[in-house]
């Protein structure tokens, strides 16, 4: 699908806007529920980064595979995992998309080829390479999209995986969500070469820098890259420049960045900028926005109700699934 701004239709614009509002609403609701102690553990919210998951997922089909990080609520929702199943997982309920065994950082849906939810920084990249290897060996025209943050670039697994994917010409789309901080460590304090996209050249991988705050730019870049990945069976690295508006997790006083910096990025909020663009095109009315928000709230309320009323996994099933229950 071509998503250039010139071709932006009302229908498509509203779909992207709705998808981002849905993720934003989900994250804000999670924040509240965490305060109410309904959700426990680590909780990493993606406010500000919604355009990447939403823009990218428009370009993937059911045959493609997704590997994500521990800040993956947006990817899971954009991929189509039902919101109530995701919310139930955050509650730790049996009806959760990982049966309450994964939690916020480990969302899975095999039927949608959503392979997690990886909470060791960089640990998902080799797995994505292997899924792509299987896709190539079976001559599928599918790709594996691997999302990771700027922190992962410091891990050996990033370099090993880019090398292997390039060496074996595997259909991996590496999507780096560069939000400038690995937890509290600024990129330039961790990288001798802070230009992440430049690192791809060392592995002869094509790369591009994308405005990760612009959902249309994300979709256009992913559309172009995905075409190359599929047709030429080569990896590509897209560096999405983005920013998280909230803290790293629920336990972060944000001593490492200033208020002015946060406010400057908030002016580029992908939801605000897309809304403004649609208004300027004359295809977004205030009533549309209100309707999208009502839909979102209704879905959220239903998801919370579903999670609240879902059963707990019986403790007698504690040790299930440590080993596979069905031989394949």
């Amino acid at each position: 699908m071509n998503a250039s701004a010139a071709a932006l239709t009302r229908e498509h614009g509203l779909r992207l806007l709705g998808a981002m509002l849905r993720i934003r609403g989900f994250e804000d609701r999670c924040y509240q529920l965490y305060g109410q102690m309904k959700i426990r553990g680590f909780l990493h919210l993606c406010n500000g980064e919604e355009a990447i998951a939403v823009g990218a997922m428009q370009e993937f089909g059911p045959e493609d595979a997704i590997v994500a990080t521990y800040r993956e609520h947006g990817h899971a929702l954009a991929r189509g995992i039902p919101m109530d199943r995701v919310m139930a997982e955050l509650y730790g309920k049996q009806s959760g998309c990982s049966r309450g065994r994964g939690g916020s950082m480990h969302l899975f849906d095999a039927s949608r080829r959503f392979y997690g939810g990886h909470a060791i920084v960089g640990g998902g990249l080799p797995v994505a390479v292997g899924i792509a290897l299987a896709q190539k060996l079976r001559a599928e025209r599918a790709l594996t999209a691997c999302f990771f943050g700027d922190g992962a670039v410091a891990e050996g697994e990033f370099h090993e995986s880019l090398n292997l994917a390039a060496l074996w010409r595997l259909p991996v789309l590496f999507v780096c969500e560069n939000n400038l901080y690995a937890m509290g460590t600024a990129l330039e304090r961790a990288q001798a070469e802070p230009d992440i996209s430049a690192k791809a050249a060392a592995y002869r991988i094509g790369a591009a820098v994308v405005d990760g705050m612009d959902v249309l730019a994300v979709q256009a870049a992913v559309a172009q890259a995905a075409r190359t990945v599929r047709t030429e069976s080569v990896p590509i690295l897209l560096e999405m420049r983005t920013y998280r508006f909230r803290a790293h997790s629920m336990f972060d006083p944000q001593l490492y960045r200033g208020r002015a910096e946060v406010e400057a990025w908030q002016k580029r909020d992908p939801i605000i900028t897309l809304s403004a663009r649609l208004r300027a095109l004359g295809v977004l009315q205030e009533s549309d926005l209100a309707q999208l928000q009502r839909d979102c709230e209704a879905e959220l309320d239903a998801a919370v109700q579903f999670a609240e009323h879902s059963a707990w996994e019986p403790v007698s099933d504690l040790e299930r699934f440590v080993y596979a229950e069905r031989h394949t």
Partner: protein, 337 residues
């Protein structure tokens, strides 16, 4: 091997047996492929995969860069996506570079996904000391891996198991680590006639006896068998139990032998502290304490990084002579009859 000749009629090495197992797996299942460092053109660091590249081609006999984490993780991903990868990590020592993938991913993904995913991956690793390779090439870390739920740990210690354990591992839907002791690759012999498969659930009695049980696996198993022959000459009949799988442990077989002989010596090439021997001893204490005629004993590797010099390395590792001495002490305690 000439066609028509029964496999059991030909003398072969442990290395040949593993190669035959790989050949069979690759021939029978198009989803199976082998990858690792120098498995292809070089023929395998221990020459296990020699010749397979010519037969199966570079797509299925896949040389990797020295990127243990990436190619083990790639094995996990390929297994998740429906293939049946066999990953060779040249030695267990290098597996430490892939520990994240093995422990954080292979072992967890089935449970953490609520049973949606499974990782039918086989990892083969050379393990152990005895070749004067120094501290960084002589680890025995299979006991470490056996600590981790979600993994299956197996050790082929006989030619039959070297020949048939791989197929059993590939038939399982879970990640299986097969530890091949580097000292055994040159072991020669013949396969048991008529044997076509083995399981990955049961320990096996390799020698029957009434006076004590020697519990072991890997190279140490063969030291136990040698010790048992020496002990027989002095009238002590040792039973030798080959654990075969370290996770899950075959408690039933262990306890059956313990109840039969009432005395136990565990021989484990791992370091003593926190060892597999400690785990087995505790299980015997929990399940068969009142059947024992003597405290459970063990012989492990001295708690040093394995040294290079031959006499020091030998002194660090369990030996047949040490097993004989420990067995005698168990049967005839000092101050006893």
């Amino acid at each position: 091997m000439p066609s028509g000749t029964p496999e059991s009629a030909v003398s072969l090495s442990y290395r040949d047996a593993v190669r035959a197992a790989l050949h069979q797996a690759l021939s029978e299942d198009p989803r199976v492929f082998l990858m690792g460092e120098d498995v292809g053109r070089y023929g395998g660091s221990y020459a296990v995969s020699k010749g397979l590249l010519e037969t199966f081609g570079p797509e299925r006999i896949r040389d990797t860069p020295l990127s243990e984490s990436a190619f083990v993780g790639a094995g996990i991903g390929a297994a998740l996506a429906g293939l049946r990868p066999i990953v060779e990590i040249m030695t267990v020592n290098f597996s430490l570079l892939a520990l994240d993938q093995i422990v954080n991913n292979a072992a967890t993904l089935s449970h953490m996904s609520g049973g949606q995913l499974n990782v039918p991956l086989v990892i083969r690793l050379a393990t152990g000391a005895g070749r004067q390779l120094g501290a960084q090439h002589s680890h025995s870390l299979e006991g470490w891996y056996a600590h981790v739920p979600g993994l299956r740990i197996a050790v082929p210690s006989t030619l039959d198991d070297a020949r048939f354990m791989l197929a059993a591992a590939l038939a399982l839907p879970d990640p299986v680590l097969l530890f091949e002791h580097l000292y055994l690759y040159n072991m020669e012999g013949t396969l048991t006639e008529g044997l076509a498969r083995v399981d990955l659930e049961h320990a096996a009695i390799r020698r029957s006896g009434r006076d004590l049980t020697l519990i072991s696996y890997g190279w140490s198993l063969h030291k136990c068998l040698a010790a048992a022959r020496s002990l027989a000459a002095e009238g002590i009949e040792a039973e030798v139990l080959d654990l075969r799988t370290l996770r899950p442990l075959d408690d039933a077989a262990i306890m059956a032998s313990v109840r039969h002989t009432r005395r136990v010596l565990i021989v484990d090439e791992g370091w003593r502290s926190g060892s597999l021997a400690a785990e087995i001893a505790m299980r015997i204490t929990e399940q068969a304490f009142y059947e024992l005629d003597a405290p459970v004993t063990r012989l492990c590797t001295a708690e040093v990084p394995i040294p290079y010099a031959r006499h020091l390395e030998e002194a660090a590792l369990p030996s047949a002579a040490g097993i004989v001495a420990a067995a005698r002490a168990l049967l005839r305690p000092a101050g006893g009859s």
